[in-house]
């Protein structure tokens, strides 16, 4: 660049009106400093609000439960009876219902979800995956109340008429598949609804995990003559199993927390029954069903206590999932 032109540019920059005027420049700097720190504080306020919201939730749930906490202490979790009419409360039956429905649904959803994750990440042509992937995720967007409505009028009758009796006659030797019920509202139906909610979560998360496997690893296995299945087992699942486990745990977290769709199809009878075809109740479904019509202050406090049990279960699941995916993460 010609020297004359360059010097002309520099001198024009030097005579730039805003920069040459010292007072204006100082004002600009002051404004920038103030606005910068304002934005910083505002952003900190937003971040702090998120943290404080979580603390406030924990505090509020504990303080709402204080009456039941002082009355029962930790033994509340081991008490089986829940009868508001006589004023006896315990979480055991609800904890049982929550765990049974969640474990059953996650067991089924893991198989389906991981299979879909494999399909989307490794099997399907890119164009097919670009259509099927969002469709599966859309399954998670269906509101739980609509899924519950479909549960009442489609899934429960279907389970009652087409599934319960055959399953009982074939697998009746397993206590889980006891004698069929009469209405179709049962732990089994609730689990089925939960499967629909959990599958998209596990599918999306495990697909993302599978996509992180370097293609060299897969191609190396293929070059050794491995079949598709052997590539999946040897190169994909063996390097990603911690991510898959974390995905299943997040699905489990979703299953234990669902209240509305479950309360619509589970039958709302607080009991412990080994039979999946019997009606039941979960922590969330009982709160959804009874919270607006408490019979006593202890009843309300006991429901807050149930919420506390659910919260502890949920936080433990989430933290464990985080721990698994970070500490047993990639061994690559």
């Amino acid at each position: 660049m010609p020297v004359r032109l360059l010097s002309a540019r520099v001198s024009s920059l030097a005579s730039f009106p805003q920069l040459s005027n010292r007072r204006q420049l100082e004002r600009l700097n002051r404004l920038d400093a103030r606005a910068g720190s304002a934005l910083r504080w505002l952003a900190l306020f937003g971040g702090a609000a998120v943290f404080l919201a979580l603390m406030a939730i924990v505090y509020q749930v504990i303080s709402g439960a204080s009456l039941a906490l002082s009355r029962y202490g930790i033994s509340f979790v081991g008490r089986r009876q829940w009868s508001p009419a006589v004023g006896r409360f315990g979480a055991l039956a609800l904890l049982y219902g929550t765990l049974v429905t969640s474990v059953c649904s996650v067991a089924v959803a893991t198989v389906l979800g991981v299979a879909i994750g494999l399909f989307l990440s490794l099997m399907a042509p890119r164009r097919v995956a670009a259509v099927v992937g969002p469709l599966v995720e859309m399954l998670a967007a269906i509101p739980s109340v609509v899924l519950g409505l479909v549960g009442i009028y489609l899934i429960a009758p279907f389970v009652l008429n087409n599934i319960e009796a055959p399953l009982h006659s074939v697998l009746g030797f397993i206590p889980l598949f006891g004698p069929p019920g009469t209405v179709g509202n049962s732990d089994f139906t609730a689990s089925l609804v939960l499967v629909i909610m959990v599958v998209p979560i596990i599918a999306a998360l495990s697909r993302d995990v599978f996509l992180t496997v370097p293609s060299e690893l897969r191609e190396g296995a293929e070059a050794l003559g491995a079949t598709r299945l052997e590539v999946i087992r040897g190169a994909v699942l063996s390097t990603t199993h911690s991510g898959v486990i974390a995905a299943c745990m997040l699905g489990f977290g979703r299953a234990i927390g669902e209240a509305i769709a479950v309360t619509q199809v589970i039958g709302n009878i607080t009991q412990i029954s080994h039979n999946l075809f019997a009606p039941g109740d979960t922590l969330g479904s009982l709160i959804a069903n009874q919270f607006l019509t408490p019979v006593s202050a202890l009843h309300t406090a006991s429901m807050f206590y149930l919420a506390l049990v659910l919260l502890v279960l949920e936080l433990a699941t989430m933290l464990l999932a985080r721990y698994v995916s970070r500490h047993f993460g990639s061994r690559r």
């Binding site: 971040g47 919201a53 509101p143 989430m318």
Partner: protein, 299 residues
């Protein structure tokens, strides 16, 4: 050892024995994954079809404007006008809280926070994302409803707890994807930090933030558990005073679904059809918008 005959030219590459078994199991597993994906997609279509089949016939202008019959549910179907208006109000209030909170959190975590401060906020965000929505409801019930009664404000606050992690998480992702060259160009020009954030980073990440907000609105519109204890009005006439409980679509569906009256149930299907259409359209729209805005940015 197994001695093979000289290769038959007609079946030269047909696997046999062990290899054949491995191929067959592999193919079976591939078939299972295809079936699983097909099952999930067909369940989606069955649900949408089932809702559409029962709900579409309800859809009319009157259904969107009128209110539910006040006293008895005869053969006359009602309408869901008040519930639509109430849902719009609640979700608007919620988004007014959640959008600034979520975006500010994202800005703090990506632009300002040191690792030590960021870690607890990040963890809190993840835990909030997994929080059972019924606990958001019971939290606000204990915090506000126990003292001031049910209100649209309370419902908005409960829904915002569901929305904030959704908005924050996607905003963080899209802010992190702003090309470093843009920031460096701004730095090289000596532009102040806050001007870079508001003038370069946020506009570039806007596509992702808008997408996240649309998805969060769609999510909040369908959530029942947070509003069940905070704004459980059902079958009331138009009511928009935010200090009072307002009727809304999810609670209306929840209550109508349990009704023994078939006319009431068909109203529930109508409301469910409207809700599911809005939510699926919002989902599709948000995805298309994101794709378009990313293509525009050359990402």
């Amino acid at each position: 050892m197994n001695v093979h005959a000289s290769p038959d030219p007609a079946h030269a590459l047909t696997p046999s024995g062990n290899l054949r078994r491995r191929m067959v199991t592999s193919r079976a597993v591939v078939a299972v994954t295809v079936l699983a994906a097909a099952l999930a997609v067909s369940v989606l279509f069955i649900i949408v079809y089932f809702v559409a089949q029962r709900g579409a016939s309800q859809i009319s202008v009157a259904f969107f404007i009128r209110q539910l019959p006040l006293v008895s549910y005869g053969k006359v179907t009602g309408g869901i006008g008040p519930a639509i208006a109430g849902s719009v109000e609640i979700v608007l209030l919620s988004t007014l809280i959640a959008l600034p909170a979520g975006v500010l959190t994202a800005i703090y975590l990506t632009e300002f926070a040191g690792a030590r401060v960021a870690a607890p906020i990040q963890t809190a965000l993840e835990l909030l994302a997994g929080l059972p929505t019924i606990i958001a409801g019971i939290f606000v019930a204990g915090l506000l409803v126990a003292h001031y009664g049910q209100s649209a404000y309370a419902a908005g606050l409960a829904l915002s707890i569901v929305q904030v992690p959704l908005i924050a998480r996607t905003s963080i992702e899209s802010i992190r994807r702003v090309p470093a060259s843009l920031r460096e160009a701004a730095d090289a020009l000596g532009i102040a930090r806050w001007r870079t954030i508001t003038g370069v980073v946020l506009p570039t990440a806007a596509g992702g933030i808008v997408t996240a907000t649309i998805l969060a609105i769609a999510r909040a519109a369908g959530e029942t558990a947070p509003v069940l204890f905070t704004s459980s009005a059902f079958g009331t006439p138009y009511q928009l005073n935010p200090n009072q409980q307002v009727p809304n679509l999810p609670v209306e569906i929840y209550n109508l679904a349990n009704s023994l009256n078939p006319t009431a149930v068909s109203d529930a299907w109508g409301a469910a059809f409207l809700l599911i259409c809005l939510i699926l359209l919002a989902n599709i729209g948000a995805r298309l918008w994101l794709r378009r805005s990313e293509r525009k940015r050359g990402l």
